[in-house]
Structures are given as C-alpha cells and as structure tokens.
C-alpha cells in the first residue's frame, strides 16, 4: 500500500471524535507524505472535515495520536497547528470580511515594529506572495468582502504559502469558484505539491480528486473505508466506496450494477 519514502510527514492514528452521542470520527488512521496529495472523500457527515479539524487544532480529538515526521505531537488549538507548519484553508474561507488582504494574511501573526503593526511590511509581503498566486490582484487595501471568490481563495492560500506550510489542509477549495478560478486553484495545488508540500484535499468533486490526488482515503459514517492509490482504482471503485462504505475488494458485481441503475 505505502509508497517507499523515508518518513511519513503526518500520521494520524486511531482518531476518535464524538459530539454528544454522535460518533463523528471512529478509529481513523490516515497518513500523508511530503509532496503528496491525499484526497479525502465521503458523503455528507462522513467525518472528513471533523478529522481535518483535529489536525488543524480547531477541535481536539477524544482519543488517538498524531505524529509529525514520526514524532508524537499535541495539537490542542490552531496556534499549535500553525507552529507545526500546518495551515488550513477552510470551506468557509475563514477570512475576516471587514479587513484587507494583508490583515487577513497575517491574522494572528502580525508583523510589528516597536510594538506597533507594520502595515507596510505586511502589505509588501502580501504583494510578493500574491504576485506568485494571482499576479493580476491589485486591491491590497480593500476589505476582502469586496473581492471575488477567486481572489478571496487566493488570499486564503497566500496565507498558507507565506508561512511556508509543510502540511496543507484544503477543505473544498473550489466549492465557491467559477470554472476559470477553479482551474487556477488546481494549478496552484500542483505547484505547491512540486514544492514538497503535503496536501490533504477534501472535496466532494470526484473529478477534482482524481485529477489532483496521489492517494484517496474514503470515509463513511465516521469510519475509514480504505485508502487507495489513484493509479490502482477507477472512479467507479471510489464512488462505490463513498456510497456503500465498502472497500473495492468487498464490492460485488451486484453492488456495481445497483450503483449504475
């Protein structure tokens, strides 16, 4: 199953998360290598976002452990995650709409000089990183509320790029975007991958996932159905896993027939 590489960038072992009586994530073990994209797929409520919120520090796990570069770590809040160079691009974008792009990029990690915000330095850094991601972007002093969906997504990604993320979690990064912007984001993901960043990509768009991922992990009702190499499966196999919650070898001809009916 595993690619022959020295150490795994991320390893999440036996993760469990429960909200009240709902067992949102159940004994999930998942891993990620540098320069690799792992697609995380599953139906609504399958637990993919919750699993990733554990890694990004937004929600603590009830049990299980997380290893970064083979070392056990403790992630209890977003600051811990950021210190480990884990950056997250949320489905909801998680931008403060009322402030401008530099303020969002540096939110929580502002540059200061003499205890005061150094807005010029932050704008300069933002101009540099946005120059790479979206060279046409010029509205550095506008509230991000007034930006287009693609521009806002670029700001969110710029945050991860600027802080030299090693592990990037992208939760539905193209959900709010038009076709041209979606293509832009896909290019960007390939570029980041080349730079050696490990990416968890959550998406319900199976084409996105097949296009970008090296491996695909499928979740079903909080469980991990299985992790497969993209090169070894068809999209039908993955669809079956998503819908039936069965690993490819368990899927029967009848299941597939039912799927296509």
């Amino acid at each position: 199953m595993t690619v022959a590489q020295p150490t795994r960038l991320v390893e999440m072992r036996d993760i469990n998360v429960a909200f009240g009586g709902v067992h949102a994530v159940r004994d999930v073990t998942i891993d990620l290598y540098a320069g690799e994209v792992v697609g995380l797929v599953g139906g609504n409520g399958a637990g993919k976002s919750t699993l990733m919120r554990v890694l990004s520090g937004a929600h603590p796990a009830d049990s299980g452990e997380i290893l970064i570069d083979g070392t056990k770590v403790s992630i209890t809040n977003p600051r811990d995650a950021k210190a480990l160079k884990i950056e997250t691009i949320y489905q909801t974008l998680a931008l403060a709409d009322n402030v401008d792009a530099p303020a969002n990029l540096f939110l929580g990690r502002e540059l200061t000089s003499l205890g005061m915000l150094d807005d010029s330095a932050m704008e300069d850094a933002t101009r540099k990183v946005m120059g790479r991601l979206n060279p046409n972007f010029t509205r550095f002093k506008a509230a991000v509320r007034s930006l287009s969906g693609g521009q806002r997504q670029a700001v969110a990604i710029a945050r991860a790029v600027h802080f030299n993320a090693r592990i990037l979690i992208m939760d539905e990064p193209t959900a709010a975007l038009g076709p041209a912007e979606t293509a832009q984001v896909r290019d960007l993901i390939r570029q980041l991958k080349l730079e050696g960043i490990g990416i968890f990509l959550i998406s319900h768009d199976i084409h996105d996932v097949f296009d970008l991922s090296d491996r695909i992990s499928v979740m079903y009702h909080g469980r991990l159905v299985g992790t497969v190499k993209k090169s070894e499966v068809t999209s039908d196999d993955v669809l079956a896993m998503i819908i039936m919650g069965k690993a490819p070898e368990e899927v029967t001809e009848r299941d597939l027939a039912a799927l296509h009916r």
Binding site: T88, A96, L117, S120, K141, A143, R145, S146
Partner: protein, 440 residues
C-alpha cells in the same frame, strides 16, 4: 488603513480618473468620506443654530461649553466602538460612571481623611483618587468581561445586570444622599475658567501637536516609497498637512478667544495687583483640561484600534469570529480586554462628571449608556460587527451634544431635546444603511 469603515474603500491603485470631480479629488487624499460627511453635518448643525439665534450661538465660550459637555460621552464612546465592533454591547457604562464618581467624592470627603489617614493637605490626593477610581473601573470591567468572554453569558445580559446592580451599589455607598466638596486640584479635571491651561500653553500645545502631524505624513510617505507602493499625489499630502495643522492651530486660536468671565478676571487682577485696562482685563482661558483629556483618549484609542494587534483582533473578530478563532487569536482575552478598557474610560468620564459637579449625586451617569451607544452608532459603528471608527464616534458624540446644547440654548426643554436626538439617531443610521446598500 486596515479598519475599513466602508464597504467600498478607496483603493490606492486607482489612477486619477479623466473626469475630475470633487469626489475623486477627495478620494486621492484617501480621506475617510464618512468622517468628512459627519464634519460637514456638524458644521451645518452649528451654523443652523447660529442663524436661529441671530448670530449669538457661534461664540468661543458657547463652543467650549458644548465641547466640555460632550467629553464624558465621547470618551466612553471611543471604547463602545471597540465593544460594538466585536459584536458585544455594554449597557452598564452609566452605572459604572455613577459608582466611580461616587467613589471619587467619598474618597476625598470621607475615606481618605478618615480611613486612609490622608488629610486635605496630603500630597497628590487627586492623583491617588483618580488612580483608585480607574482601578475600580478596570476591575468592574474585568469582572463583566470575564463573565462574558470566559463564562459565555451574553454581554447584553451581563451588562444589563451591571446597569441595575451597580446603580444600586451607588445608593448603598452614599446612603442615598449627594456628596460634595472635592479637592480644588481634582475639580480642574472638570474644566471651567480655572480648569483650563491658559492662552500661552494652548499656543505651545497647538504648535507641538502640529509637528507630529507633519512627521507622520512624511514618514508614512517614506515608508510607502521604500516598499515601492503607490503614494498620494504631493498636492494631496501637502493639503492634508495644511488642513491638519490649520485645524489644530485654528482650534487653539478659537479656544484662546474664550475669555475669563469679567468678574473673575477683575478678582484675579485685584489679588495680583494688576491694573485693569480701560476695555476690561482680557485673559484667555485656553483649552480646558477635559478637552485635552478627550483628545488624548481619542489619539490613544485610535492608536490601539489601528496600530496595535489588540485593535486588529477586535476588528477581525467582529468581521468573522470563527476566522479570528481559527487564525489562532486568543479571542476571549481580546473580548475581556475591551471591557477592561471600557471600565477605565468610564472612570475617566466619571472624573470629569464628578469634577464638574464638585461631587456626586445618586444619578450621575444615568442614561449615559444610551447617549454613548447613540454617539457610536451616529459615528458609523455597525451593530453587525466589524465596522466603526473611533474618530467617528467622537464626532458622533459632538453631533448629539451640539443638538442638545443648541436646543437648550434656544430654550427647548429636555423632552424636546430627546425628540430631536431620537430622530437624528434614526436618520443617521438610516442614511448610512442606504449608502451601504447602494455602495455594495
């Protein structure tokens, strides 16, 4: 320029348009259009009253009275902006002002001489009293802020409880009676002829204040040059400098045109053996202390809101609480700090109120919460969170107070003043939301 007060802010990259309208010229100076509009509205109100009163309204004495009357509400409004921007409310400000004002009065008339052993001649009694009052305000703010941020009780409920219970404490502290007789030095905080810095000091202050304005413009321009960012046209920079310095020096001149009342001047002359000239002795009062305090508070609060992480976090939290939390900001601590700040500002406003009354009554500060919220909202603060500026709120307080003072000057009763204040509040917010809708 991160705390954008408008949904359609001015981009620095906009090339000067071919058609040169007043609006586009204004845009090049990067002046906040909303603030500019409020200044125009304020001027219109003052001029209207001047016409209605047959030209007797717009006198330095009257304007200084008006400004001093607005200081208490304006000082608290600077903090209310931060509270409302971070999607909370503070209804307890009036009661906090009341309890701190009563504390000042009791400290100086009873507790200091009788309990702490600091008689009337004890040095710096006013500083000690002020320090204790500010500490009390901060403690009340911290307690309320803790319950809101860490226990998770809605701010409306916590501060409504504060409004009721803290006012009750005033009653217990004072046993139901007014307390009067503050130290002379403390009374200076309230303004008046003696509570002002005098003509010469006002000119010096004006000139000294002018220098940082120019320095800020130059260093800002240099900074942007250094990074190769677009800069304002030189004429715009120069205009801003001239307007800034002109405004400061103009205000100084205006304050200095306010003279000591003739009786007081004559008494002073008699005491100091100064001959009284034929036209009467003219002594400039200069800027009153409460106004200097307000200017200082406005500058510090603006600095905190725009130049410090704390301010950035408050605005970001108001814009999107989840984003702020996910960005790793300690949002609870930030919220708690806004309430501590509120308590401190209430204590400063209480000092002005107590100094002006030379004591405290049971009802000092009552109703402030409404005036303060009105000032913040008229000044462009939005209850949706994330939007509002501190200079806007100060201007809002001045707009509301100029209406109250002007109507009072014209002999309109308090109920009439309230009717107008209420209508203006609704109009201002209505106009604002109309503009925002059109803008987006």
């Amino acid at each position: 320029m991160t705390n954008v007060a408008d949904a359609t802010p001015v981009s620095s990259e906009v090339k000067p348009p071919a058609r040169t309208s007043f609006r586009s010229l204004l845009a090049q100076t990067e002046v906040d259009l909303r603030l500019f509009g409020m200044l125009v509205a304020l001027a219109a109100i003052l001029l209207t009253f001047n016409v209605l009163s047959g030209g007797t309204f717009f006198r330095p004495t009257n304007m200084v009275t008006l400004a001093v009357q607005a200081t208490g509400v304006a000082i608290i409004a600077t903090g209310m902006v931060m509270v409302i921007v971070s999607r909370n409310i503070d209804l307890s400000v009036g009661s906090v002002v009341g309890v701190v004002a009563m504390t000042y009065a009791l400290l100086m008339t009873d507790w200091m001489p009788n309990v702490l052993g600091m008689g009337v001649d004890f040095p710096f009694r006013w500083v000690i009293a002020l320090g204790l009052g500010v500490g009390l305000g901060a403690a009340i703010g911290a307690l309320q802020g803790f319950i809101i941020a860490y226990v998770g009780v809605p701010s409306f409920i916590v501060t409504l409880g504060g409004l009721l219970s803290i006012r009750g404490v005033v009653w217990y502290l004072s046993s139901g009676a007014a307390v009067s007789g503050l130290d002379d030095s403390f009374q200076l905080i309230g303004g008046g002829a003696q509570g002002s810095i005098g003509g010469t000091a006002t000119w010096i202050l004006g000139i000294v204040a002018c220098l940082p304005i120019i320095a800020l413009l130059i260093s800002g321009r240099r900074q942007r040059r250094r990074y190769g960012f677009p800069v304002r046209p030189v004429w715009a920079e120069a205009l801003l400098g001239v307007i800034g310095c002109g405004a400061v020096l103009g205000l100084a001149a205006f304050a200095n045109a306010n003279l000591w009342p003739q009786g007081l001047a004559n008494r002073y002359a008699a005491e100091h053996g100064i001959p009284i000239p034929a036209g009467g002795l003219h002594i400039s009062t200069g800027l009153p202390y409460p106004i200097i305090l307000l200017v200082g508070v406005t500058l510090v609060m603006t600095w905190m809101a725009t130049r410090r992480r704390f301010g950035r976090y408050v605005y970001a939290y108001g814009g999107n609480p989840d984003a702020a939390e996910l960005a790793g900001i300690n949002t609870r601590w930030t919220i708690l700090k806004t309430y501590v700040l509120m308590g401190v500002l209430c204590a400063l406003a209480a000092a002005i109120a107590a100094a002006r009354l030379n004591g405290s009554t049971l009802d000092v500060g009552s109703g402030y919460e409404l005036y303060v919220i009105a000032a913040a909202v008229v000044g462009g603060t939005s209850f949706a969170g994330g939007i509002g500026t501190i200079p806007g709120a100060v201007l809002g307080a001045f707009v509301m107070q100029s209406l109250a003072y002007g109507l009072s000057f014209m002999g309109v009763n308090s109920p009439g003043q309230n009717v107008v204040a209420g209508i203006v509040l609704i109009l201002a917010v209505g106009f604002d939301s109309f503009n925002r809708r059109r803008g987006s």
